[in-house]
């Protein structure tokens, strides 16, 4: 990809640290999640790689969670590792209801999850839903979920998910917009999904996380989503899933600009220290691996290539 060589990149020592941290957090995520999965939804363990993908997302959340905790001025202890792993698993299973069981299931999940967040009621109908509910309950049990900022983050994340599902299931209104407005809608939708997600994670890990750093994490979250969508570009197109990154004219250049601008903001705005280093190194590594995923998937179409690293 042209231009990558001019980007800031972490030194070799920091990249090695990130690699070993990822290995360690993958092991820890499994330690926390496997017993819960075994108890409530053992079929997931032999579900053709789905469990492994869940562990990968939890590992990713643990890495980001580590960075957020240190940026917030706290030590990333065992309890915070557990919360990060639970959050990753919760996102993974929640997303599976939206992505893997058809349009009707996605619509129904949104309705039921809205009831859960507005009234606290959730009808548990099968083992997957039971696992989701238990993981959510354990995560909510870790903190005061009625804290105003955390409540807003959780509900805003839901609204962003709902908007994403609406765009997918009813793309008609999007088509009538002018190209510029359409791209804006898609960009904001991607930004909010991951922006609110990282806000939820940081508030679980550090209640009272300083407002002056929240918007920088939001930027990091948005960047993660753009990188992710670029990696999934071909598989999304195959499944008729419209995203900002598969609609812009020159996705590679757009991503490169967003990455350069975003990481520059983070470098200037976040407090100097280990948290900032971890976050930037993680983003760099994520960016490089997803560019490779994009390249590999170019010829594979619907066959998504899962990045296990």
């Amino acid at each position: 990809m042209a231009g990558v060589s001019h980007l800031w990149e972490p030194d070799a020592g920091l990249l090695r640290d990130i690699e070993s941290m990822a290995r360690e957090y993958r092991r820890r995520a499994e330690e926390h999640l496997k017993p819960i999965v075994s108890s409530y939804y053992p079929a997931l363990l032999d579900g053709g790689g789905e469990y492994r993908k869940m562990i990968e997302l939890s590992t990713k959340m643990t890495m980001v969670g580590h960075a957020c905790t240190e940026i917030g001025g706290y030590r990333f202890d065992e309890r915070r590792r557990r919360m990060s792993a639970l959050f990753g698993a919760c996102c993974f299973i929640g997303d599976s209801f939206i992505d893997d069981f058809g349009d009707e299931a996605a619509r129904e999940y949104i309705e039921r999850y809205e009831l859960l967040l507005t009234k606290g009621w959730f009808d548990i109908r099968n083992d997957r839903e039971r696992l989701f509910f238990v993981i959510l309950t354990r995560l909510f049990g870790e903190r005061d979920v009625l804290d105003p900022m955390l409540r807003q983050a959780i509900f805003s994340l839901f609204l962003a998910q709902k908007r994403d599902v609406d765009l997918r299931l009813d793309p008609g209104w999007l088509k009538v917009l002018r190209r510029r407005s359409r791209l804006d809608q898609l960009r904001v939708c991607a930004r909010d999904r991951s922006g609110h997600a990282i806000t939820v994670l940081s508030l679980f890990l550090v209640p009272g996380f300083p407002l002056r750093y929240h918007h920088l994490l939001y930027t990091a979250g948005a960047l993660i989503m753009y990188i992710d969508d670029h990696g999934d570009c071909y598989s999304d197109l195959y499944h008729n899933r419209v995203t900002y990154m598969n609609q812009v004219k020159n996705p590679s250049a757009t991503l490169l600009r967003a990455f350069a601008r975003g990481t520059e903001r983070l470098r200037k705005g976040l407090p100097e220290g280990r948290g900032r280093e971890i976050l930037l190194a993680f983003l760099y590594r994520y960016f490089i691996t997803r560019i490779e995923k994009h390249r590999l998937e170019r010829d594979r179409g619907r066959y998504s290539w899962t990045v296990y690293e």
Partner: protein, 228 residues
């Protein structure tokens, strides 16, 4: 319950046992609701904060790092979905203040706090919220609690607990006994009040209930301190 945890969840020891117990209780409450045993017209837990957020004095735009007054017309349309209500910004947050609406630190709120003796007003409100929370649980889960109480009282475990309480009570000092008696009679008064209230309305208790206030509506932004 349709499924019991194996007890392996989360490793060994009390943390895992507590987690399993928490899972069981949470699942059981949902199952009771599915079987129509709990009045689900009332919320069990409301995360949705939109109603309270609309009344906050400030809104923080996460996408553009701007703190606005809630009524500010300079909030970009694309930021509406990235706004967070803020009640009490920190002095350093004012660096991100919108140049158009110029939000300022809420001086009046500070004066009120001083007049109430630091957080006195807020603490009283919190105590009232806790009492209402307690009443709502008795109200919502009343029939289940009564039934469980009867079963428990006649069970072996229940009888053991009663004996243990009797022993414990006999060992209390006069002052401690008085304090406990006051607490128990207060509980009696509360339960009686809820029962009379429901009987007065002659329904299963959905009419005219206080919806209560959103918990923490006037809390500081965040908890301010990390636990753990």
């Amino acid at each position: 319950m349709s499924k019991k945890p194996s007890g392996k969840g989360g490793g060994h020891g009390t943390v895992a046992q507590r987690a399993d117990l928490g899972d069981s209780i949470a699942i059981m409450i949902q199952e009771l609701r599915s079987r129509g045993r709990i009045d689900d017209s009332q919320p069990l837990l409301r995360i949705d904060y939109r109603k309270e957020a609309a009344t906050a004095p400030f809104q923080f735009d996460m996408a553009n790092a701007r703190l606005h007054r809630t009524s500010c017309c300079a909030i970009p349309r694309g930021s509406k979905s990235a706004l967070y209500a803020v009640w009490t910004p920190a002095p350093e947050d004012m660096e991100m203040a919108c140049k158009r609406c110029r939000p300022v630190m809420p001086v009046e709120a500070e004066e009120d706090e001083m007049a109430n003796g630091k957080d006195g007003g807020r603490e009283r409100e919190l105590a009232t919220d806790i009492i209402f929370g307690f009443l709502s649980i008795i109200d919502q889960f009343g029939s289940v609690l009564t039934e469980r109480g009867r079963e428990y009282r006649s069970s072996e475990r229940g009888k053991e607990v009663v004996k243990a309480f009797e022993t414990l009570y006999s060992e209390l000092t006069k002052k401690q006994k008085e304090a406990l008696d006051i607490t128990v009679s207060s509980l009696d008064v509360l339960v009686g009040a809820v029962r009379r209230y429901n009987e007065g309305f002659g329904t299963n208790g959905t009419n005219g209930r206080s919806a209560g206030k959103g918990t923490g509506a006037h809390k500081k932004n965040g908890n301010g301190r990390a636990r753990g």
